[in-house]
């Protein structure tokens, strides 16, 4: 089973669901009780997830903390969970983000409070499920299960245009997922009726099949990431979603796409992945520059951050499809980073939105005078977002550009321009919101209270922790990523370790 | 020859009566024609050794359903309807569809292949009477469908009441 002696992953999945059930039994009027219950459940889940960090064996690429039970034997479906170096950090991120989402919604959600927290907790269970499922059927179940609470979060507690955004979000992701479902079924029958991901990964598929399945899975993952031409649901969803929804969306949900590429597309279809690397790199670079340039034209805070996500996720996919160790590890780290930073930016926007109820940049100005503590927090996240060395954003972006450059010089150079534009739009945003003369509309706003500071502090700590000592996080990934590359280069050619690519100068 | 004669009579009567049913202007006339039709069909069942069904045909169809029809017609007081035009819309199309379907069925009769024979020969049924034979199977092998049908009937009763009762307008 696992070294802990109890099924930690199942506990993490079902504890929030149990919590949701308990909240369901509470009275509609017991608002405080509901909130505290949600908070306690999320904190307990986070505490329980800590052993994943401390007890994780960083020397092996094998799945850890595995659990396996028969589920539907007639279809050979099993309840199979496990994590490796690629997925473990995301579970921790999910449990942490859930706490922050509960905290940030404390006062800002005023209607249907009970249902809101139920949705958040169900979401948490499903997210952890997605990251730990090792059976395709189970994976798909969680994958789709995530959609419903998110759809409700946007559609019920969202902004004025929430219905449009929620439906758009739902349709986009569903269309992609359906193609993936077809792919899963094809794999199931090809491999002799098994949904076991580990078994499926060890098979070799003919190139033609890999090619089509790659694109089927691509549809699901590219929408989630979101990659360039299918990104337009994201700004709408982010803009309309309540703060907690935006945070979960940014921090975890859109990571699922990139995670899918890593967990499924590359190991299942290594030949197709290599063959498709160039189009993928192209799309990534387009996303980086395109997303960044679009940000220059935004007048809505959340929309701007949403588009910046497109740009940042372009870096992630660039790293992944650089198909070398720096790119992959940078990509994974950047996924965590983006979750932290963009999540934190949305949390911050939520804090000020609670006070002003405006997302228009032009309604702000001079906020640094009114809310000095808040502006300091926001500055930290802005800097992390533009990848300043010492913050987490730098480590990820540097490794990705390094990997990307090693894979294709064009990709490396063009993606680096995204960093210039990134600095442009973020600093311009910061200037328009925090600097210059104080806008009359925001005079006399309340400074952050203790709850809000507590919400942001973990993010600040993570920003610097990963920025200054990223090795701790990178060490989780090494064996898994190396194993992935071995699978990718099964034919034996040793590529992808940058530094050997050019091999001009040998340092003894 | 007697059997054929009876069949021919019944068939002719059934055909004519059924045509009359659908062509009457006044629904009351239709119902009465239909009553006669059902008696003929019951008679046909008797010629086929299905005495129980013949009885059911008379009791349920003629006795219950048609009375219900009549009852409804009288309730609705369909005087205007009686003088309304008989056909509305493109009736040739309906006729064509009906004839087409008929032809299709007739043609398909050629490819009819009888299945294996069962155990209930005329002798067996005669030995224990049609009703008993039917009842035995119905309450053993077909018990569940039977119960389901009874529930369907219950639902129909409730549904009919709900539909027919006057709406209580707030």
């Amino acid at each position: 089973m696992n070294t802990l002696g109890y099924p930690i992953l199942s506990t993490l999945i079902f504890l929030p669901l149990l919590g949701a059930a308990v909240i369901l039994l509470m009275g509609r009027s017991q608002e405080a009780l509901v909130k505290w219950a949600a908070l306690v459940v999320s904190i307990v889940a986070f505490v329980l997830s800590i052993p994943l960090f401390t007890d994780f064996d960083r020397t092996t690429h094998l799945m850890q903390f595995t659990e396996r039970h028969e589920w539907i034997p007639s279809w050979n479906i099993t309840y199979f969970l496990g994590v490796d170096g690629i997925s473990v950090l995301f579970i921790l991120l999910s449990t942490l983000v859930t706490i922050l989402c509960v905290l940030i919604s404390w006062n800002s959600i005023k209607t249907k409070i009970k249902e809101f927290y139920i949705a958040i907790l169900i979401m948490e269970g499903a997210m952890i499920g997605v990251f730990s499922a090792l059976d395709f059927f189970l994976f798909y179940l969680f994958w789709e299960a995530m959609l419903i609470p998110m759809y409700l979060l946007i559609g019920v507690w969202g902004g004025p245009n929430r219905i449009y955004a929620a439906i758009k979000f739902f349709l986009f992701t569903l269309v992609g997922s359906v193609l993936m479902l077809v792919g899963i079924i094809v794999l199931y029958f090809y491999a002799g009726k098994t949904f076991n991901i580990l078994e499926l990964m060890n098979m070799n598929y003919p190139y033609q099949m890999q090619f089509w399945l790659f694109w089927a899975f691509f549809a699901a993952f590219a929408v989630k990431v979101p990659m360039f031409p299918v990104h337009t649901w994201l700004p709408d969803a982010h803009t309309e979603a309540p703060t907690a929804g935006s945070v979960i969306l940014a921090a975890v949900l859109i990571k699922m796409g990139a995670y899918g590429f890593l967990r499924f597309s590359i190991p299942l279809f290594p030949d197709a992945s290599k063959a498709m690397a160039v189009p993928m790199l192209t799309l990534s670079v387009v996303a980086i520059i395109y997303g960044a340039v679009v940000c220059l034209a935004q007048s809505d805070l959340k929309r701007l951050i949403a588009y910046s996500s497109v740009s940042h996720m372009g870096f992630v996919t660039l790293g992944i499809f650089a198909l070398n160790i720096q790119g992959l590890e940078g990509g994974i780290l950047q996924m965590i980073n983006h979750g932290i930073v963009t999540g934190a930016l949305f949390l911050s926007v939520g804090i000020v939105y609670d006070r002003t109820h405006s997302r228009q940049i032009s309604d702000y100005g001079g906020l640094a005078t009114v809310l000095p503590v808040y502006s300091a927090f926001f500055m930290v996240f802005t800097l992390a977002s533009i990848g300043l060395p010492g913050t987490n954003g730098f480590v990820g972006e540097f490794l990705i550009i390094l990997g990307g450059f090693a894979a294709s010089k064009w990709a490396g150079v063009l993606s680096a321009t995204g960093i210039i534009i990134g600095a442009g739009y973020m600093l311009w945003l910061y200037q328009r919101v925090f600097f210059m003369e104080t806008n009359q509309k925001i005079v006399g706003l309340q400074e952050m209270d203790m709850r809000e500071i507590i919400t942001l502090v973990p993010m600040v700590i993570l920003v610097f922790w990963i920025g200054i000592y990223p090795d701790m996080f990178l060490s989780f990934m090494h064996p898994s990523v190396e194993h992935l590359l071995k699978r990718l280069n099964a034919e034996g050619q040793e590529m992808a370790v940058a530094g050997k690519i050019m091999g001009i100068i040998k340092i003894p | 020859m007697l059997a054929e004669g009876i069949f021919i009579y019944l068939a002719a009567a059934i055909t004519i009566l059924s045509v009359l049913v659908i062509t009457r202007k006044n629904p009351v006339h239709s119902v009465i024609t239909m009553l006669v039709l059902f008696f003929h069909i019951a008679a046909l069942y008797v010629t086929l050794n299905a005495e129980f069904l013949a009885a059911v045909q008379v009791i349920v169809y003629a006795g219950a359903i048609l009375v219900l029809f009549l009852f409804v017609i009288l309730l609705l007081n369909l005087k205007e309807e009686a003088v309304a035009r008989r056909y509305v819309g493109p009736w040739p199309l309906g006729l064509m569809a009906a004839v087409g379907l008929f032809l299709a069925i007739i043609v398909s009769l050629d490819s009819f292949v009888a299945g294996p024979k069962g155990a209930f020969t005329t002798e067996v049924i005669k030995a224990e009477t049609n009703t008993k034979a039917l009842g035995k199977i119905l309450f053993t092998e077909y018990l569940y469908p039977f119960e389901v049908v009874s529930i369907v009937l219950l639902v129909a009763i409730i549904g009919a009441i709900v539909l027919a009762k006057k709406r209580l307008r707030s």
Binding site: P229, Y290, V294, Q298, I325, L402, L427, P470, I501, I507 | -
Partner: protein, 639 residues
């Protein structure tokens, strides 16, 4: 070694203390925290320098920063001759300017913030100069840029200040873009980013070419030029010089510390640090030399006509930085660093004096409103005068020795563009002397031209400000004495000291030639001063007459060659226009959203049409059913 960690981390601690407790607890005592920290750092630095003087260099890793496959970078420190010079410059200037700021910023509502930023800057700059690998250099590089951003935009409520901060950061990003790619190229070439192994292996690069974006490029040239991009940005060379004059929006101590003495010289430091790479590429060297020379001339000409006291000094800084690159470009890295070192003192002094003047003039920057301040603020006058003499290259002062060494090595060195850049350098020396003394004469001599309120307000600055001025003044005079050339009986100790890191460039020429070069530069300097005196000390409006005569030239110079306007026109506006009208308007708005919303719309229309089939007429449904039944039976039959 461990005690050396205090050098960067003391200021960092001060930053944290001030930023966290400054607003609530420390308030107007914030300067104590920072000054003590920086002073501590200075003391340890001096100990480190003493060690280095005895030949003990340190290269140690603190911990592993990033590992990924073959990529492994540590946080580590390299303290050698080059670093130790930078430590002297950074910690000394920083300490003095911290002290000065306690007076200058007194009463500002962001007092604690100012000192925390200054401390953070000091930390970052020290990380930059003590790094033992390129990535940590890059860390310091960006971090000083960040502090510069904070401090330029310190008075963020002014739009011009926050604009300038943003501009500085973004313009620097353009340079860092090349620098970052250069670092990546270095890693891909050498498999490491640590200085010592790289510089030990550079010779392997000779003659290698590499495919870069479809071109076959000489590898050392490529790497050197990419690195130089970063230097161009940070040290405000053409074409990325535009941010530095705007950076004068920041408080004056910041201009002195960051935009004169330390941060802007990081580019020169980096080029000097990478001299083994640059030296492999004659092309890159020539580029460096010419960019430096052209920038020096370009900025000096702009400086001639400006009226903003700080901007003149800023252009002077750009010009002097060009000088340093000129030196590096001809291979005289030692001379470049020597000039960096002397320049730090006299330029910091100039800025601080300008600050002192502004303090007296209640923030007034326009030279045309000053005049005759000599009698109100004698100490400021005296120190600024000395600094100007130093920058003008008057023999005996610091600026003279370093400038002379650069010019001589440019003239006599092996560089093919040496003579050309020497000529430019000499012209620049003349221009520098002219605008420096134009500044002095317009500010301190003649009659006061400002308003009466201003005249009443005139006073000498407090001791806390003038004492750092005097200390720096000593530096501006004496800092050059460590590098007196052998021609004048000195030992050229400075370049000798730097030799292990920077190599040593011997000038090839006779003593006569060396005397001639020296004489020409001294004459250029003195005649610049003389011309300034002739134009501005005399009664009458000679300057205005000349301006009238060369109206066009004056306009071009006054508008800084329209570079800002050009960038605005070719980069900023098109980008934003494209973002607004093409991408948001067309691509995202029409094409992608068009498809995204169009497909459901189409389905909607189709189903609207399809809906009309459902007429609600029972007989139609029945007919369809009958036809359907017919079709099904027919199909079964015909199959």
């Amino acid at each position: 070694m461990d005690s050396y960690l205090l050098i960067p981390f003391l200021p960092l601690a001060a930053f944290f203390i001030n930023i966290i407790f400054g607003r609530t607890l420390i308030k107007d005592k914030a300067h104590w925290v920072s000054i003590l920290a920086v002073f501590g750092s200075w003391v340890v630095s001096m100990m480190a320098v003493a060690e280095v003087l005895q030949g003990k260099t340190v290269n140690a890793d603190l911990y592993t920063w990033i590992t990924s496959g073959g990529f492994k970078v540590s946080v580590g420190f390299l303290i050698d001759q080059l670093t130790s010079v930078m430590l002297v410059v950074v910690t000394t200037c920083s300490t003095l300017i911290h002290i000065y700021s306690a007076g200058y910023m007194h009463g500002d509502k962001g007092y604690y913030r100012f000192f925390s930023y200054l401390s953070l800057f000091t930390f970052s700059m020290l990380m930059l100069v003590t790094a033992n690998n390129f990535l940590q250099l890059y860390f310091g590089w960006e971090a000083v840029g960040l502090c510069s951003y904070f401090l330029i935009g310190f008075w963020y409520e002014k739009k011009s200040a926050s604009d300038a901060g943003k501009k500085a950061f973004i313009v620097n990003r353009f340079g860092d873009f090349g620098f970052g790619i250069g670092v990546i190229m270095i890693f891909l070439t050498f498999g490491t980013l640590h200085y010592i192994p790289i510089f030990g292996a550079v010779n392997g690069m000779v003659g290698q070419t590499v495919d870069f974006l479809g071109m076959q490029v000489d590898l050392p040239t490529l790497i050197a030029l990419l690195l130089f991009c970063g230097a161009v940005g940070k040290s405000a060379q053409i074409p990325l010089h535009v941010w530095l004059p705007d950076a004068m929006e920041g408080p004056t101590p910041v201009s002195a510390l960051i935009h004169a003495a330390t941060m802007v010289t990081a580019g020169v430091f980096m080029v000097a640090r990478c001299n083994p790479i640059f030296s492999l590429s004659p092309v890159a060297m020539d580029v460096v030399a010419i960019v430096g020379a052209v920038t020096a001339l370009f900025a000096a000409t702009i400086g001639l006509v400006q009226n903003d006291i700080k901007r003149i000094i800023a252009y002077s800084t750009v010009s002097q930085l060009g000088y340093m690159f000129l030196a590096c470009g001809v291979g005289a890295y030692g001379a470049g660093i020597f000039h960096l070192y002397t320049h730090a003192f006299f330029k910091a002094l100039l800025f601080l004096c300008a600050g002192s003047v502004m303090h007296a003039m209640a923030g007034e920057l326009d030279l045309q409103k000053m005049g005759g301040l000599k009698k109100y603020m004698p100490w400021t006058y005296l120190t600024m005068f000395v600094a100007s003499l130093s920058i003008a290259g008057v023999p005996g002062l610091a600026g003279f020795f370093s400038k002379d060494e650069i010019l001589w090595l440019a003239y006599s060195g092996p560089s093919p563009v040496g003579k050309l850049v020497w000529a430019i350098g000499t012209i620049v020396a003349f221009l520098t002397a002219f605008y420096s003394f134009r500044l002095i004469f317009l500010t301190f001599h003649g009659k006061f031209r400002g308003s009466h309120e201003q005249e009443h307000h005139l006073h000498e600055s407090p001791k806390v400000m003038t004492i750092p001025l005097m200390i720096l003044c000593v530096g501006a005079i004496a800092s050059g004495w460590v590098g007196i050339p052998s021609l004048l009986g000195g030992g050229a100790h400075f370049t000798e000291f730097m030799k292990p890191v920077l190599g040593h460039l011997e000038g090839h020429g006779t003593h006569a030639e060396e005397w001639m070069v020296m004489a020409i530069s001294v004459v250029a300097g003195l005649s610049g001063i003389g011309l300034a005196a002739f134009v501005y000390l005399r009664e009458g409006d000679l300057a205005a007459t000349v301006t009238q005569k060369f109206r066009f030239v004056h306009q071009v110079l006054w508008n800084k060659y329209y570079v800002d306007e050009l960038y605005d026109f070719i980069i900023v506006r098109p980008t934003i226009w494209i973002a607004k009208n093409v991408i948001v308007g067309v691509t995202d708005g029409k094409i992608i959203e068009g498809i995204v919303n169009g497909v459901p719309e189409l389905i909607g229309r189709f189903s609207l049409w399809l809906r009309s089939i459902q007429t609600g007429m029972v007989h139609q449904y029945a007919a369809v059913m009958a036809i359907g039944a017919f079709v099904v039976i027919a199909m079964v039959l015909l199959w």
